[in-house]
Amino acid sequence: MNADDKKTSCSWVVESIDSYIDGDLGRDEMAAIKTHVNKCRRCREELAFVKGTLAQLRDLPNLDCPRRVSDVVHERLAASRPDQHPVRATVPSGFVKRWFSGRQLGVPRPALASALIVLVVLSSLIISRINRPAEHISPEQVSEAEAAVKWTFAYVNEISRRSGLAVRDEVFEAGVIRPMQRAVRSALEADTPTVPKDNGGSI
C-alpha cells in the first residue's frame, strides 16, 4: 500500500479523525479525508458520531461551587490573625507540640493555651470532687461534674477542629482519663464495706 492508498483507507481516516476535527492535519490530508468521507457511508457515520459526542462533551456545563465550601475555608481563616500567615505565625512551641498532634492551621497560641488551662483546671476540679467520700457527693454535684466534663471535651474538640490539631491520646490518657479512673476506683473502694483483716490482735 503506497502513501496515497493509505490516505484513502477507512482505517487511516478513523485513525486521523480527531486530528481532522481539530484541523491539525496538512492541507492534502484534510482534503483526502473530506473526499473519502463524501464517498464512504461508514466513515461519514463515524465522523458524525465523533462530532456529536464531542459537541455533547463540550456542552457539559462549568459548575458553580456551593458557597458553603469556600465559607468553611474563610471561617478557618477568620479564626487566625488576618495579618499573619497561619503556619508561620503559630508554629507550635515545644509545650504545644507535647500536648497536641497534627498541623496547626490558624488558631493563635492564646486560644490553645486557654483550652489547655480550662482542661487542666476542670479536670482537677472534677477529680477533687470524685475523691471526696461517696456520702459527701450530692446528685446535683454529680450532674454538675458531668456537665463540666462534657463542656470541657466539647471545648477542646472545638479548638481541635478549628486549629486542625488533636490533643494527643497520651495527654488525655495521662492527664485526665487515668487520674479519673484512679479517683473513681478509690471512691468506689471507699464506699464498699470490706472485711477487716485479721491481724492477730496486734496493732
Partner: protein, 173 residues
C-alpha cells in the same frame, strides 16, 4: 493578605469544583476535594507566585482528585474484604447533571460517566481541554507534559471515551 486570598478563592473555586466534579463524578467528593485544594492554597500562600498560581492550583486539584479516587478504592476494598455491604455508593453519582436540559441529557449523562472511567492523564486532559476550554500550553504547564504529548493524549483520551460510550450504548441495545 486575607482579602487577596478571598479574591483568589472566588476566582478559582468554580473551576476547581468543576474539574473535581467531572473527575470524580460525585458532588460530595467534589466539594470535599475543593475544600482540600483551597486549604492547601492557604497553607502555601506565601510561597506561591501570582504567575504560577493557576497552574499550581490545577496541578493540586488533579492530585487531590487522584488521592480521593485512591481513598475510595481503598475503602471499597476494605468493605469487600470484610464482607460488608456498602451502606452508600461512593462511586459515580446517579444524579442527572445539574443545569442540563432533558434534551440530550441521557447522552450527556453517559458521557459524564464515561469520563470517570478514563485513566490518568487522559481524563484530566479531556476535562481541561474539552470542558474547561483550556489552551494546550496551560495544560502542558499544569501537567508538566510536552505540548505534543498533550495533543496526542487528548486524542487518545477522546477515542477511549468513545469506546466506553459505544460499550454502554451497545449494552443498552
Amino acid at each position: 493578605m486575607a482579602e487577596k486570598f478571598r479574591k483568589v478563592v472566588d476566582r478559582y473555586r468554580n473551576s476547581v469544583y468543576t474539574f473535581a466534579y467531572y473527575s470524580l463524578g460525585n458532588k460530595e467528593e467534589a466539594e470535599d476535594t475543593t475544600q482540600e485544594v483551597l486549604m492547601r492554597l492557604w497553607r502555601n500562600w506565601q510561597d506561591l507566585k501570582t504567575e504560577t498560581m493557576p497552574a499550581w492550583i490545577r496541578r493540586v486539584t488533579r492530585n487531590a482528585c487522584i488521592d480521593m479516587i485512591r481513598r475510595r478504592r481503598a475503602y471499597s476494598a476494605r468493605v469487600v474484604a470484610s464482607g460488608e455491604t456498602l451502606a452508600f455508593d461512593h462511586a459515580v453519582s446517579n444524579e442527572p447533571d445539574p443545569d442540563v436540559s432533558a434534551e440530550n441529557s441521557e447522552l450527556r449523562d453517559q458521557i459524564r460517566r464515561a469520563l470517570t472511567t478514563l485513566k490518568e492523564p487522559y481524563r484530566s486532559i479531556v476535562i481541561f481541554r474539552e470542558i474547561q476550554d483550556m489552551r494546550y500550553e496551560q495544560i502542558s504547564e499544569s501537567l508538566d507534559l510536552p505540548l505534543n504529548t498533550v495533543k496526542s493524549y487528548l486524542h487518545r483520551g477522546r477515542r477511549m471515551l468513545r469506546e466506553q460510550l459505544r460499550e454502554t450504548l451497545h449494552e443498552r441495545g
